[in-house]
């Protein structure tokens, strides 16, 4: 199987060069999702335009495909009907699903020259954890992130807290949010201390807390989960206590999509969300804000997150080679730096942080370096076989706890039992 993929890759490489040289443009489509605020589609279109000018033999058609979930649905539907987009940006965590469906090819076959190898080796290792398995590379990091804490300095000042000092530990975080929550005499809250969104990426937020409590949620092979470990229950307990015990966090479910808006409106003094929202917040905030690493429990930590480039198996070798060249072009240090500045996502390689553009940017806006610095403490994002199903089992149970219908230990036992049932056939 390894060799077959390798041969397919080499054959693709051998065939692609002449095909590209013989004129007759190679056309392929590129599906990408948008999961953060801001005018991202315009940025992508301008990149595709630049690439077309530099590579007249290749015509790439970028297609905005909705959220990550919707993009995966579209790509897999197209795969089953036989004509998938050659290149797509999909959640790095869906790697096992895509491999099981035989929808993507490993990329090692396209990496030939020493320059190629240097480029591949320069991606941050934390990002490669969700891009490689069993010795093969299946995805190229593109819009990758970690979870960071945003805080509103003006509201910190109002509450009598040092506006330059974000909470560094769970205990501090809990103490700060208590002071940052504003209630009237009847107990109605006009400003919350913090928001940790619980729709869409609830599993991701829990993972951050679990890492900080010293646990990992799944093994690197993606066939075993550890949802019922005491640290995970403790992490969930910390989260739900913010809402139900100290009442410094909105009751019920907090929307992923509206959390940045709540922060911009001053309805919450802090929020936990992806660094991919950084540029959106920077453009729209009418107050001073700061960005910090997540507070530490037993240790610091955050899962990585975000999307990788993947190349479809059902595409012509010439298309695959062209798609690879586009992906490689998109992740060049200058462009990775530009993309990071335009969005807030982490520059995916060390070299991106060596570029002049990035150095200037960081000098004027040091907050942008926080997510990169946090990579030192980062852990692979939860990723298993049948990833969507396993994440739903976990996400549903998190929501059950936050809405008060289950206790944390019971919910995590249920989630673990469901994950066991799903993953047993893959061992």
């Amino acid at each position: 199987m390894d060799r077959r993929h390798f041969l397919a890759g080499s054959a693709a490489a051998a065939l692609a060069r002449p095909a590209l040289a013989q004129g007759g443009p190679t056309e392929f489509s590129f599906f990408y999702p948008v999961a953060v605020g801001g005018a991202i589609t315009r940025v992508i279109d301008s990149y595709a335009g630049d690439f077309a000018r530099e590579n007249p033999g290749i015509k790439v058609t970028p297609v905005y495909a909705g959220t990550y979930q919707e993009t995966l649905v579209k790509v897999l539907t197209a795969h089953k009907s036989g004509t998938p987009p050659t290149l797509s940006v999909l959640l790095s965590t869906d790697m096992f699903t895509l491999i099981d469906e035989e929808a993507i090819v490993p990329l090692d076959g396209f990496v030939k020259t020493d320059a190629d190898k240097t480029w591949l080796g320069d991606f941050f290792p934390a990002f490669m954890l969700n891009s490689q398995t069993a010795g093969q590379t299946w995805g190229l990091p593109f819009q990758r992130s970690t979870i960071v804490l945003y805080w509103n300095k003006a509201l910190f000042r109002q509450a009598g807290l040092d506006p330059e000092k974000p909470p560094a530990t769970w205990a501090e975080h809990a103490a700060f949010v208590e002071r940052l929550t504003k209630r009237d005499a009847a107990g109605n809250v006009s400003q919350w201390g913090t928001q940790i969104p619980s729709t869409g990426f609830g599993y991701w937020m829990l993972q951050a807390l679990a890492i900080e409590a010293g646990e990992v949620l799944a093994n690197q092979e993606g066939d075993r989960t550890f949802f019922d470990k005491p640290g995970v229950v403790e992490a969930l307990q910390y989260w739900v206590d913010l809402a139900q015990k100290s009442k410094v966090y909105p009751p019920g479910i907090v929307e992923w999509g509206t959390t940045p808006r709540d922060f911009l409106e001053g309805k919450t003094a802090m929020m936990w969300t992806t660094t991919g929202n950084l540029t959106n917040i920077r453009t729209n905030a009418r107050f001073d804000f700061g960005v910090a690493m997540l507070p530490a429990g037993k240790r610091r930590g955050s899962p990585t997150g975000g999307g990788n480039f993947s190349i479809a198996k059902k595409a012509t070798p010439a298309q695959q080679e062209a798609a690879f060249r586009f992906a490689r072009w998109m992740t060049q240090p200058e462009r990775a730096a530009r993309w990071s500045i335009d969005t807030g996502y982490v520059g995916v390689s060390r070299a991106a942080y060596g570029t002049a553009a990035m150095k200037d940017y960081l000098a004027g806006f040091p907050a942008a370096a926080v997510a990169r610095d946090q990579l030192e403490f980062a852990v692979a994002e939860l990723s298993t076989h049948e990833n969507q199903r396993v994440t739903k089992a976990l996400g549903d149970n998190i929501q059950a706890v936050l809405t008060g219908s289950k206790a944390p230990d019971r919910a995590m036992r249920d989630a673990q039992a469901e994950a066991e049932r799903i993953l047993r056939p893959y061992r």
């Binding site: 649905v73 469906e101 009751p251 479910i253 309805k267 936050l402 809405t403 219908s405």
Partner: protein, 292 residues
């Protein structure tokens, strides 16, 4: 003889286009779902095989299926009577000669013109905690804040309300058309007899509207099991499956988990439920609705 044959051929030729479309996009998929529901989901390394009723056994043991079923029945019980009642009320209201009648009719019909996705996004803003429209109103009245879509108790009611708002205007159009078909002599006769407004409605208008009510009822039942656009936009079935409806769950199993055989089994259950509902409505109700 020859002309009868050619008439038959003619007839069948006229039926053919619609028939071909129905068979290709309605009948064949239904049969294919039934067949597929008895097989396992094909995976690249594990081809599909016959598994008997295993998918149905899985369904019986699947709490999310049961929750979706119960949610869907509640959703139906909420939307059907409310949407029909409201539609009838609005239709009787704008059927009268009131000032600004055209404007009122248009206003009631507007939700129908909007795509469900747009409607859902508007209501998403209404329900937003803290600064949503609903919150601003309740805060001005001094009532406590509530996370409508984010708590298990209110989420299903909140999405039910959106569906009622969206559907009532549509059903109103049918009632309005039917009301205009009722002869004005009946109203005059009732007025001469000194019948009250309510008696006239109960004894004359409502019975004459029964065929329309049956038609609207059938549509309402179908919609209650078919409308999931707003669920996808507003809650994605959450919190913890509190707003998961059957069709939404079918979509999730089919297109997020790619367990197509299990999704086929769920589809069959949905089809059977709708078929039973249609049989009851056409076979039993229809015989009692006509005013004699």
């Amino acid at each position: 003889m020859k002309s009868r044959l050619s008439a038959a051929v003619h007839g069948w030729l006229l039926l053919l286009p619609a028939m071909a479309l129905l068979v290709a996009f309605t009948h064949w998929p239904a049969v294919a779902s039934l067949v597929e529901s008895f097989t396992s989901t094909p995976r690249p390394r594990r081809p599909s095989r016959f598994v008997g009723v295993a998918n149905y056994e899985q369904m019986l043991a699947d709490p999310v299926f049961w929750q979706s079923l119960v949610n869907n029945l509640r959703f139906a019980l909420g939307t059907i009577p409310l949407a029909i009642g409201l539609a009838l009320l609005m239709a009787v209201w704008v059927n009268d000669r009131i000032p600004g009648r055209t404007f009122a009719r248009m206003a009631y019909f507007t939700p129908t013109i909007l795509p469900m996705i747009a409607v859902a996004n508007i209501w998403l803003f209404f329900y937003t905690p803290q600064y949503g429209l609903l919150e601003q109103v309740t805060a001005a009245l001094g009532l406590p804040s509530h996370n409508w879509l984010g708590s298990r108790e209110t989420a299903l009611a909140a999405v039910t309300l959106v569906a009622v708002w969206k559907e009532a205007g549509f059903f109103m159009i049918f009632y309005l058309a039917a009301l205009q078909g009722i002869s004005p002599t009946l109203a005059e006769a009732a007025a001469l007899e000194g019948a009250s407004r309510w008696t006239f409605f109960r004894r004359v208008q409502f019975p004459l509207l029964m065929p329309t009510t049956l038609f609207v009822l059938i549509n309402a039942v179908i919609n209650a099991f078919r409308t999931v656009d707003h669920i996808i936009v507003m809650t994605r079935g959450g919190p913890d499956n509190a707003t998961s409806l059957l069709l939404f769950y079918v979509y999730q199993v089919g297109f997020n988990f790619w367990d197509t055989s299990y999704a086929a089994a769920l589809t069959v259950v949905l089809l059977v439920m709708l078929a039973v509902a249609a049989l009851v409505q056409y076979g039993w109700l229809e015989r009692r609705v006509h005013y004699r």
